[in-house]
């Protein structure tokens, strides 16, 4: 049986070059970057170099990069941190979208419980935020707009530069969760109107448990975790040096490979979409063009997503589902509901996210598998109408 991994939006395999870059820091270079002695200084040097690599990949300066333990912490630091630094009196309004990752949604919901006002912008049928509508919601009390660069479930890419320009004009900070975008969407933060940007290494072939927050110079922000003087006190704790070195190398490679990789993935993606849409009763979720190069999300009518996922797994194909019953939650995906799917259709959705390790053969095998399984499951479905 083949082993085909089509869940690259969940996490990616570590690149060999990245592991190689990390290994010295899992072996001989074990000093604490805060130590003054030789062991500390060689660790510090690697820390500085990784920061420069991340800065270079984003068109930022090293002082603007704060390492974190991942995308979730970067989002929390951005949102809770700006909230702590900026809110006073009535100035407690945050704007976000209905389709953010839980690391953003749950954070703003927490702030809401402490007295913040939060606007959740709706999205259209493709998952797009309307910049005009965003602008209408900005008030004198708005301190932060946080809209993801690209969605993790349906792959839709937001008009984030336009959103950023509006925020800049109105004097409101703009944070974007770019966890899914790094390596697919080019950034040049010197030019782009973005004040804060989150990323997570394991989404672009780097290690798990390390991420970064870009914080534009002079942006007012406070720490969320308290402790030592690391990361300008914004993120205390002994640095995860092997992880940080891996992040630096991974983002360097991701940016170098971006064009070729995106072209390759788009080719596979379009073939996969075409093949799947040829099966009766399958619809594509997300924007037909403005989507991440590796993202496919479809609703397979009349069947339930988890049973499709499990059947694909038994054929050696790893995908994820936006259905209920996954990962302990009984609700169907908030993203699929926000683009207007009914409960049953949302339940019948699967996400296939491609990576460089996937081949045309994988695509064709997967289309065949989906077809066969769909037919089989529809035979036992009480809601299937021929």
């Amino acid at each position: 049986m083949p082993k085909i991994y089509m869940d690259h939006a969940a996490t990616t395999p570590l690149k060999e070059e990245v592991l190689e870059a990390m290994l010295p820091f899992l072996k001989s270079v074990y000093g604490n970057p805060s130590s003054l002695h030789f062991f500390g200084r060689e660790a510090r040097k690697a820390l500085d170099e990784s920061r420069e690599k991340v800065a270079r990949a984003l068109g930022a300066t090293p002082e603007e990069i704060i390492f974190t333990s991942g995308g979730t912490e970067a989002n929390n630091l951005a949102i809770q941190g700006v909230a702590r630094a900026l809110s006073f009196g009535e100035r407690k309004h945050i704007i976000t979208s209905a389709i953010e990752h839980h690391a953003v949604l749950d954070t703003v919901n927490y702030l809401h419980s402490t007295g913040f006002e939060v606007t959740f912008l709706p999205v259209d049928e493709y998952g797009m935020v309307d910049p005009g509508e965003l602008e209408r919601h900005i008030t004198d009390n708005t301190i932060l707009v946080t809209i993801m660069t690209a969605n993790n479930e349906i792959g839709t890419i937001q008009p984030f530069e336009e959103i950023g320009r509006i925020c800049r004009e109105r004097g409101v900070y703009f944070h974007t969760d770019a966890v899914q975008a790094i390596g697919s969407i080019p950034f040049n933060l010197k030019e782009q109107p973005i004040d804060l940007l989150s990323l997570s290494a394991h989404k672009f072939c780097g290690p798990k448990g390390v991420g970064a927050l870009y914080i534009r110079k002079r942006t007012k922000i406070k720490q969320v975790l308290f402790g030592g003087a690391q990361e300008r006190k914004l993120r205390p704790g002994t640095e995860n040096l092997p992880g940080i070195v891996g992040l630096g190398r991974a983002i360097e490679l991701a940016v170098t490979d971006m064009e070729a990789k995106s072209a390759y993935l788009e080719g596979l993606r379009n073939r996969l979409i075409k093949g799947l849409l040829e099966i009766e009763g399958i619809r594509l979720n997300g924007h037909p063009q403005k989507r991440l190069p590796g993202n496919v999300n479809v609703s397979v009518l009349y069947i339930e997503g988890e049973s499709l996922l499990l059947n694909l797994d038994l054929k050696g194909i790893a995908v994820s589902s936006g259905s209920a019953c996954t990962s302990g939650s009984l609700e169907p995906s908030h993203v699929l509901m926000a683009i207007g799917l009914d409960h049953q259709t949302a339940q019948g959705s699967v996400r296939l996210t491609l990576g460089s390790d996937n081949t045309v053969g994988d695509i064709d095998y997967t289309v065949e598998a989906v077809k066969e399984i769909t037919e089989r499951l529809r035979k036992i479905s009480p809601v299937y109408k021929k």
Partner: protein, 121 residues
């Protein structure tokens, strides 16, 4: 996540399909979870002679329906009425905790089918 017996019933569900002229039909839908199950029974001499099911739902839902049909085929209506959702889960060798509440509805559907039959006669 699922044990082998669950996977077997999920992959090779027994007694799948619609039934012509059933003695009774039961359908349940779990609003929370969205799963839907439909059970058809053929009753003769107070015995479940034949049983079929259709299920829209996750792996646990499909396997529960399948194993239930095996459990009650040939049983009396009283015996079938005594089968609970917990019995079904137990017969499967256990289900993941997250699944116990949401997908294990097969016994409910069966009971409805029996009640449907009893209402008709």
């Amino acid at each position: 996540m699922y044990n082998e017996k669950v996977l077997d019933h999920f992959q090779n569900p027994r007694n799948v399909g619609e039934m012509e002229n059933p003695s009774g039909v039961g359908e349940v839908g779990n609003m929370k979870c969205g799963d839907i199950m439909k059970i058809f029974i053929k009753v003769e001499d107070n015995i479940i002679k034949d049983i079929k099911f259709l299920t829209f739902g996750c792996g646990a839902a499909i396997a529960s329906s399948s194993v239930l049909t095996e459990m009650v085929k040939g049983k009396t209506l009283e015996e079938a009425m005594a089968v609970t959702n917990d019995d079904v889960a137990e017969e499967l060798g256990g289900l993941p905790p997250a699944k116990l509440h949401c997908s294990n509805l097969a016994a409910d559907a069966l009971h409805k089918a029996i009640e449907d039959y009893q209402g008709r006669t």
